[in-house]
Structures are given as C-alpha cells and as structure tokens.
Symmetry: C2
C-alpha cells in the first residue's frame, strides 16, 4: 500500500489507476470501515482510502481535538484489507489558507435531525467530501448507513451537482449486542458501554411495531425517548422519516428509516434502522 | 461538430476524448467567444463548448427572458471554429427538480463589485460552472477577462475546492472604438452605441493616470463616475482593486485592475483594464 500525502502526487498516480473506488474516513478504523473497504475492493481495480479528521465538520465544543488518531494501527488494517493507496494529507494540504472560502451548501436538511444539534456540520461534510472527490476523482465511493443523514446528503449532492461518481451504501457493522460500531464508542466507560445497546434496542422496537402495523409515529418516538431518558440518556432526537428523502413521514409511507441521536455521559451516539413495509 | 443534449450521452462520449478544453457560454456568440474557442483549440485534442442560459445567475427583474438566443448562428460559428462537441442541454437536463438544492457558495467577494448589484449572481455562476465541470470533466477551461470578477470567482473556486482543471484567462475582445464585445451590446440603440465607448475611455484614462504615478484612487474613480453621469449613465461602480485578489487596493500595489459597471438606458455594461506598474 502506498501512503500519499500530497494532492499533486495523488493526482499523478491517479492517471493510471483504472476504475477507482474511494472510501473517505476520519481514521480510527473499526470493522465498519473495513466492510466499506471490502465493498470497494469488490467493485474496482483500485481502492483509495483517505484518513483526514476534518476540522470543518466539528462544531465549537465538539471533540475535534480528542478524536482518536491511530495511524499505525489503521495502516495495518488497510494493508490487510488490500487497499492500494492511502491518502493521508495534513491540514495545510487541504486547507492551505486555513480558512475554506468556497463551501458546498446543502439544502434545509442540513439543519434537521443531527444538523439541528450540529450547526454547520453537514456543510463541512459536503465541502470536504467535494474536495476529496475532486482530488481522488473516483468512479465510485462507499459510505456507511451508520451515518444515514450523511449518506443522504452525499447522495443528494452528487446527484444535484452532477458529480460523475456512484455512491454505494454499506450496511452498519454492529457488536453482538447490537451496538453500532463507531469510533466514539471508545469514549464510553464500562458502565456506559453496557448501557449503550439500549439505543439500538429502542430502534428495533420501533421497527417491530411499524412492521406490526402501528402507525402512531409520534407515540412510538416518545416511548423510545422516555425509555432512554429514564436510563440516564440525554436524547437529541428519535424520529421516523421517509427513507429516500429524509422528509417527515406520513402514515402509509412504505419505506421508512428510524433515526436517533442521544448522549450517554459525554458521548454522543447515533444509530438508525431502515424499515420497508 | 456533434451537438449533445443529454448528460449521459456527453459522459459516454467524454471517455474517449483525450485532453479536453471547455468553453462554457450562454450563446449569442461574438468574436470574444470565438477567441476563447481559438485558445481552447490550441491547447487540447478536443474542444467542448456549452450553450446554456442559466436562470440561476439572473436576478429578479434582470434580462433572463430577453437574453438573445441565436442557436443556428452560434452553431455555424462554432463549426467554423473547429469545435468538436456542443453541449446544449435544456433546463430540465440541468435542473430536473427545477430547484437547485446544493449550491457552491463563494466567499464575501460575491457581494462586492457586480455582486453588490446582482445578489446571488456569483452563487449561480459558481454552481452552474461546477455542474458543467462535473459533466464535461475538462482538463482546462477558458474564460474571458471581460467578466473579470467571474474569472476571479471561478479561479478561486477551482483552487479552493481542488477541482482538477486549469483555468485559462483570455483577453477581452473589443470593437475598433474600444467597446468591449458583449451580447448585451445588442440591446443598445444607435445613439447609445455611439456613447458606449465612454466606459472604456474612462478606464483607459485611469490606467494612464496610474501608470503616470497618480495614486489617488478615490479621486480617479470619482472623476470617471462624474464623467459618465454627466453623459447620462447611471454608474454602479468604478473601482481600482488588486488584480489577483480583487481586494481593496492600497497605494503602491503593483498589479491593479480597474473595474466598472454602468447603465446606459436599460442596458448594463461592464468592463475592466489590468494595470501593472
């Protein structure tokens, strides 16, 4: 595996790479990321992974500085996963003037769900992913369903700005007890880790109720919020939405997604389940 | 010359095109556009021109509906200029949902100079040029210096979003009396056409004064504004700026540009001159 740190070098290499699949990450790789790599590996001649902790998508008071950086361990995992090129730029390579002047501005969905609690987050995601796409020029890119709203924003951006890239969604990796794999799970204490699967259990309970014909979305959401709050969580949201558009779901909608974000101690966890009726 | 109207067809053709130069236009082509085409022709295996009158960059009350559409004459000129492909999409091809959801948002310069009088204009330009770049995937693109602020915005965007495209500036084409070639010159009455070169003459007078060592930018700007106003123009601005950044110019700045926009009757004309001391 080649490690490339400059944009110029990556572009020079890119010209002879054939069909390229791309997996953008912030590092601290777990089995969820490696599932993205495996999917990419199956679909292209060449797999490029990037590791870049993107300051632009972290808000004031969020965990940019604390975000785990585990470069050596990440390299070993990517090497084992058959990755061809790791693009690992420093901040000056991607933000040479410190400030990013041009931004890719998503529509109103950027201010809903997680966006309501993380102002500017999805603008930062859309902008850095645009930059990485322009640098790597992949034929396809893999994104996890774990970050469902992010996946939605990226797919909509690619469509709306006519980017010549196929976006491939990959299922969420989970621990045996259902907890979605996430770098932020590393922040949890032992007690919090034991409590954490409650988020998924509540989403699964809503899924089961929906599949059984319950259409009182508001009541289902409230039951989950109450259960989480009763066990010490601070809930940002639990919402049932249309799976394709992430718009508010109406009764009878066939393809739904249940999304949640909640805080356990200092750790903010997110998860979601798709429900097709 | 092939005329291609769909994105899918253009992308399929693009794969075997070699080094591609791109000239985006709104049609109604004059010698200024053909100079862009000639420059493109010199620099690449293949030349793609687009004609698309982009609603997104016209404001309320501007001339979107009146903007001249002269497709057959344009085709003949492009054919004679050795263009390989004309991309001529209709509005549904570029804006299938009518509304553009994701926008490329330029920094504060979008609200200065012409941007102060055309709110949203440069966002519309940056967004449609991004879309066209993503569709055509050119190696280089030619833009006229006539639209100096637009050229600045596009160059800064390409740099800041890491687009893999060389931007080639091309000198402004002029009539014998100095008037910059523009589709909007066609709106002028015979009397207005005779008056129109005064804009260039004022810019040239400022250039000559700057080269002679005059550094009282405000006085030079005011003299030009007053002369234009005295001859029936409504002046939007005459400004001396730094050529590279378009920021406010300080005394002693070596590379300047003098930019102006003013209205003669219903027609808004713009022009500029670079000055290197």
């Amino acid at each position: 595996m080649q490690v490339i740190r400059s944009i110029a070098e990556l572009r020079a290499w890119r010209r002879s790479a054939g069909r390229v699949a791309f997996v953008p990450t912030m590092g601290n790789l777990h089995a969820g990321h490696l599932a993205l790599v495996a999917e990419a590996r199956q679909r292209a001649d060449t797999v490029v992974v990037s590791i870049f902790v993107n300051r632009l998508q972290f808000g004031q008071g969020e965990d940019f500085d604390a975000y785990p950086r585990t470069f050596d361990a990440d390299c070993a995992k990517l090497e084992a996963g058959g990755v061809d090129v790791l693009f690992f730029p420093d901040e000056r390579e991607l933000y040479p003037r410190i400030k990013q002047d041009f931004n890719v501005e998503p529509p109103h969905i950027q201010n809903e769900l997680c966006g309501a609690f993380r102002p500017g987050h999805f603008r930062g995601v859309a902008t850095v992913v645009s930059k990485l796409f322009n640098i790597v020029q992949p034929d396809l890119a893999c994104f996890g369903k774990k970050d469902y709203q992010q996946l939605h924003v990226i797919r909509a951006m690619v469509d709306d700005l006519n980017m010549p890239i196929d976006i491939v969604p990959v299922d969420t990796g989970r621990a045996d007890d259902g907890l979605a794999l996430s770098s932020r799970n590393g922040y949890l204490s032992a007690d919090e880790r034991a409590e954490a699967p409650r988020l998924y259990r509540n989403l699964a309970a809503i899924r089961d109720a929906l599949l059984a014909g319950d259409s009182n979305y508001a009541a289902l959401e409230k039951t989950a919020c109450d259960d989480l709050a009763a066990h010490g969580w601070r809930v940002d949201y639990v919402e049932i939405r249309q799976a394709d558009s992430l718009e508010i779901a109406h009764v009878g909608e066939p393809r739904l997604v249940v999304l949640a974000a909640a805080r356990l101690g200092k750790t903010r966890l997110i998860d979601n389940i798709e429900v097709t009726r």
